[in-house]
Symmetry: none
Subunit: 319 residues, 2 copies
């Protein structure tokens, strides 16, 4: 009895010629019974190969090659971009069965079979010459993301188990609205009925997703986009802060150009910054780049965060 995989590879090779073969002919080639041949054909179909048949006199099995690889209208750049996108995603994850990175790896290994013959040498040369830096990111399964996407489209509630950052598990039942990809993480924006509020979940902490079959009436999103809401969630509160800096206004404007702040010169060498603080860490980064002394005139919470972090920095350097 031959190795099954070997036989399947042989059958694939035979069928990829695109010719029709009668069952009788295939059983002779493979040296198996007609029943086993039928199982083999079913097996190929299970893997996604579109094997066509026709019963009756002159009946046959045939691999519908034209449907496996439909004519592609990707131009050269698009094909290369697809390849590079897969290479990049393949390097992002934990190499777990079912993970997106695993699926991306396999797709990356197959892509040339879906491109016109003229692009194959290019794919081969890119693959041979490209290295990607591994990037650790929490695993999410392609299956879970696509199930959730379908329930969003169909306005169907889902239930799942959520594990928060401290390891506590809760069962949730929500209306799903958007999935967001942000800084190597996948998030779900959903309405939580029990809490009567919007919630953002990290998809790598979501397990045991179940489709409830229960439809919901869509409600308006809580912000312009799910991404906006996600960002707001990551930045709590907005404390008014005023800082006097020992630096010229022009310097301050240059360093704080990505910060939404009001900047006024006091004199040639001193400047006032006024802003609504959303992240003390990002403001500290800007102040670090300024490399100038400063004084916090307003903003007790920010001052407290600075004191705490300052103490921490001093403590870190003690031997």
């Amino acid at each position: 009895m031959a190795d099954v995989t070997e036989r399947m590879l042989g059958l694939l090779s035979t069928l990829q010629t695109g010719r029709p073969f009668s069952g009788d002919e295939l059983t002779r080639r493979l040296n198996v019974s007609p029943r086993t041949l039928r199982r083999d054909v079913d097996r190929l179909r299970g893997y996604g190969y579109p094997v066509e048949t026709q019963p009756g006199p002159g009946g046959y099995y045939r691999l519908a090659a034209g449907r496996t690889m439909p004519p592609l209208v990707l131009d050269d750049d698009e094909a290369v971009a697809t390849l590079l996108a897969l290479a990049s995603l393949a390097a992002t994850g934990t190499s777990t069965e079912g993970g997106i990175d695993d699926a991306a790896t396999r797709a990356y290994g197959k892509l040339d079979q879906f491109l016109p013959a003229r692009l194959r040498p290019r794919v081969t040369s890119i693959r041979a010459s490209l290295e990607t830096s591994p990037q650790h990111a929490p695993g999410v399964t392609a299956h879970q993301l696509s199930v959730v996407a379908e329930t969003i489209s169909e306005h169907e509630m889902i239930a799942f188990t959520y594990t928060n950052a401290r390891g506590e598990r809760t069962d949730r039942r929500v209306e799903p609205y958007r999935q967001v990809h942000h800084l190597l993480r996948w998030y779900l924006l959903a309405w939580d009925g029990e809490r009567e509020d919007w919630r953002v979940f990290r998809m790598d902490r979501v397990t045991d997703v179940v489709r409830t079959g229960e439809p919901f009436e869509p409600r308006p999103l809580p912000a312009g986009s799910a991404l906006d809401y996600l960002r707001q969630g990551l930045n709590k509160g907005k404390e008014p802060v005023r800082i006097r800096v020992d630096a010229p206004a022009a310097t301050v404007i240059d360093v704080l150009k990505f910060q939404d702040a009001e900047i006024h010169p006091i004199d040639d060498q001193h400047t006032t910054i006024t802003l609504a603080l959303d992240s003390w860490q990002w403001l500290i980064l800007n102040l670090a780049f300024l490399e100038a002394d400063f004084h916090i005139s307003e903003g007790a919470d920010f001052a407290a965060a600075c004191r705490t972090f300052g103490e921490r920095l001093m403590g870190a350097t003690r031997t």
Copy 2:
């Protein structure tokens, strides 16, 4: 446990990427024991696929060029991964005409034609429900990357103009060896004949690539991999820093995801970070986000910067 044939086809796809994979990584992807993996590799060898290995630290399995691949189909997860990869790459860049992100955006819009009809509803629902966060990264054209890949494969010298970080332009003529994707940037590892040494170039600073038609005799790479050499080059002249953090490794990995650092757990609640210091300000930002105590074990310059900035923060809060 997957059907053996299915698993072998998946393993073939994975190995076809040309990358080296450790046994550990493959066992995780395939969800089998190490012993079974070894049998699978033997099985592939028996079918004529030349799988190379290297034992010892950094050991791996890799598929050498040789045997033709059987016809392969995209499974559901692979199709989803392709879609997500394109979505992610489309959001990464500067939206410049000709850039990879531009091509990825177009391919993302065309993916349906790529896929069997049964997957179309899934693609549609993912597209409708997914948002991706824009990520600014230096732009590179798909055309340039593929031209360079071809010259690497064909051992052909290229000429180009290079603009360094200070804006100075030089003409270069080099032997190209590898393109590397690392932390959102594309690099080229090449041998520079004039300088008689290896050089790493950022591809977004490379312009006016010209194929010279002149072949070169390949020389051995300067390190185990181009990525290793790239890391050494990027780290050259930077201060080695070692920090002990009172936080679990998983938390640290989460926060330092865009930092090129080695992160090792000491125990459940303590972690060591080892890195070459690029910018003390950016590292301080990461440490601020960690919200945990830490101690600097190595890196006198960094410690001094922390002390100075700590004093500045403390001074800023005095009334």
